[in-house]
Homo-oligomer: 341 residues x 2
Amino acid sequence: MVRLMCGGRDWMKKKSTLRDVARQSGVSVATVSRVLNDSQSVTEKTRVRVSAAIEDLGFVPSAAARSLNSGRTRTIGALVPTLDHSIFARYLNALEDRLSELGYGLIVSVTNGSGDIEVKKAHNLLDMGVEGVIVSGRSHAEGLNRLLRRFDVPMIITSYFDPLADYPTIGYNNAAIAESALRYLRDLNHRHVAVLHGPLEGNDRIEARLDGLKRAQGDVTLEFVETELSVKGGAEGILQAKIDRQSTTAVLCLSDVQALGALFELQRQKISVPQDVSLMGFDNLEWSSISNPGITSIALPAAKMGLKAAEAMASWLTTNFPAEPLDLKAEIVSRGSTRKI
Amino acid sequence: MVRLMCGGRDWMKKKSTLRDVARQSGVSVATVSRVLNDSQSVTEKTRVRVSAAIEDLGFVPSAAARSLNSGRTRTIGALVPTLDHSIFARYLNALEDRLSELGYGLIVSVTNGSGDIEVKKAHNLLDMGVEGVIVSGRSHAEGLNRLLRRFDVPMIITSYFDPLADYPTIGYNNAAIAESALRYLRDLNHRHVAVLHGPLEGNDRIEARLDGLKRAQGDVTLEFVETELSVKGGAEGILQAKIDRQSTTAVLCLSDVQALGALFELQRQKISVPQDVSLMGFDNLEWSSISNPGITSIALPAAKMGLKAAEAMASWLTTNFPAEPLDLKAEIVSRGSTRKI
DNA sequence: TAGCTTTATGTAACCGGTTACATTTATGGC
DNA sequence: GCCATAAATGTAACCGGTTACATAAAGCTA
């Protein structure tokens, strides 16, 4: 095998180029380029001839050469904290689909909720030439802001709504949503609510939700328990909250991931849901509608957010006008895990 | 704002180039390139001067120009069927981390289990210049094979082990693992087992698992129920399997996602787990260790598979020798959802 | 100091497409 | 057939880095 003798990347140079196609079809490189990019100014006869050469040679245009010349990659980068538990799956699916319709590709990078990793991953994306960056949450390391300024690339924030933020936000008002959740429980006559939430560190969505709860507290006693954003964290949160059937009548988890763990732990302790304690989650993940009982949850507009973010970014890149903030609405899905007392 | 008057992408041309850096630091473009790529043949004095100009100008190298010249992107593409339920999250995290250590970037694309989407996404990845492609499962549309040959890019298959496959497989033997699961239940004296599995269509991992079960059947009666690969699908599978406490003593779900739904449905029907029916899953997803009872599950070597695939691909690209097939072992994690009868 | 060797740096071509401007060909009208 | 115009196509420069080979500078030894 001669190929195995070459070592390294020599075989990479064997691929045909636009010049090969031009030579074989007897036209200039400009005509080949026109056939590839613009069918208006080439005759059908010539187009057929060029297309046959492309097919015959297995010609594949170089994206690097193309973007070097056009100054565009038509690629957008998205940074998300995690791929776990489908939290971002619906949003990413919608984002990618809509961007694709608008002629853009999407590259996703995972930050594990770390500011340092986020800067590093953003740098990678920008190195690759992404034309825009879409992030989750409002607060980001100063390093990220500096990077975006340096690369002069637009950024859109999702999962958050704040018309006054430094970058346009396309998402939802976390504080208001948390308030409506508390109102929902209050209307069911709950006056002692344990709130299970993930790590506060660098997570402005959780912070805003807690602010909203504290603001709407009124005559409701709230107990806050910070725990891991995982199923396990939910179970541990129940242990920490010391649910004893006597005072706390409801548990509000700021994520359905934790709500699943909380449900399991309550069942383990023979604490009946919703007889003894009502349980509510956030994000309406799939299991919340299948669980026993179904978990009352806040359905966040993930797919719509992805779609709108895609459109906003494409528009920004085309018109050079920044995106407008957009407040998407969430809604409460009632299920068997909550009851009136 | 003059910038807002430019429209389109004019501001893209204002960024500094390697030539600007060379001019400002009074050296040639070759020296600037050497400072960027190789610190051995440049004096410290020159290096400092060039670095200052880079910082001053906010110079950012063009990845397109660099890859056009070097013939490399140092980027690998991975195709996965879904981002849902963390099924692939551990594998992708490990893959990306190890590739990064080896000097490669990773781009992930989701295929939604569709052959057509897979070909389209692969085309996008190859257009972007990825140097290798890593896929899940052995069977793929012929269009994908053609694409890879056309681009002359190496491919590695994961989540499957078959030393005779057309491309190297780095994963696990699905048939053997399913056999061991059945053996485990059989050793607990289960002789009637309902098997819940996702859609067979184009999913060779499930197919292999079923083959393994049929081969290992012996004196065990198996009932196969095809259902959606989702929590909901698991619940519906229980309804379809008509678990009645009389004959079927165990339910084997070929995914923990379905096992979660099955657990909920069994509880809804007041069928006690494991008293009335034992329940077993596949993949040892997080909730299986937290649920009530914990779900006995097969722990697949996702992280190790990601790590080994990364190393195999990097090695292949460096040495031009194809990767060797690798059979990673799974292990059964016993929990409260199964019992001896 | 001169000559030789090693180190540091520069020049110009190149990578593979795109496209402004130039040139050729085709078409329609008189 | 000739002329004007439109359509089709070609030429050469360019994008922004990389690097082979050439040249200059530095270091060492006799």
